[in-house]
Amino acid sequence: MKLCYSKLDLGRYGRDGWCYLRLTSQQCRNLIHRVPPHIMLALGAALLSTTLGGVGPFEFMMLGLLHQLPTSEMLVSIVAFRIVCYAIPALCSPPALIRPFKSGACEFSLAALHLTKSNQAEVQIIAQNGGRILPTLDGLSAIWSTSQTITAVFNPISRSMDATLSALKTKQPQCLCAASLPLVHHVHVR
């Protein structure tokens, strides 16, 4: 998904650059292989310069390295790049940061794991450390959560591992934060 967003960003930047630079097809053919190295060098200079958004070094490098292109159209293209890649994301993200965790969205909706649930010594260790019960299609599994993962530890309390894997993939978004990853740890080889 992130790769798709990156491609979308690059595609929009390419479209903006193409619209504003108004290159002929011959110029496009000449520049298509020359632009990527120059953009990478300009990005590196902008990052290392520690200026806000790389404003200044990026334009300086692009105008200096691609001096055969018209300056005014080049600057308009860079402004379009900044609007697409910087301004729009910067305007979109603050509302999401006001309330990153909606009420209840990150609270455990799973029942706590009690010592009496299983005779397995491993499951009882999980229970003593804040483990939870994940209901699967045909049974139960003991899980333990970390900041970034929802982890099924050891074999399921009852029934099959396939059902546990399926439950980890399908139920984890509703159980824990969206940032959680489903993991299986220290289970039987089958």
Partner: protein
Amino acid sequence: MFGLLTGALVQWRLLRDVYFSMALKLSAFFSVSFLSYLTVVTALVCVLLPSPDWTFASAMLVLLTLPIGIAVMFSWPNLTIGCFTFRFPNLS
């Protein structure tokens, strides 16, 4: 530096159970790793595509030292300089 700070603040806001010091460590690690990857990709692009002549020597230097860097990183994941130990940040 500004990106490092804003990145740390956003991660501090979005990651539960993470203190600001850990968010700052994560942000610094992300910045260093991103710059490393960008250096390698830029060197590769500069070697493969038409680029200014002055970039060739430094790009080749980066690409030739890349295997050594990877070997060092995997062989000694914890780097100790004096009383400071550098290691990958761990969320657990």
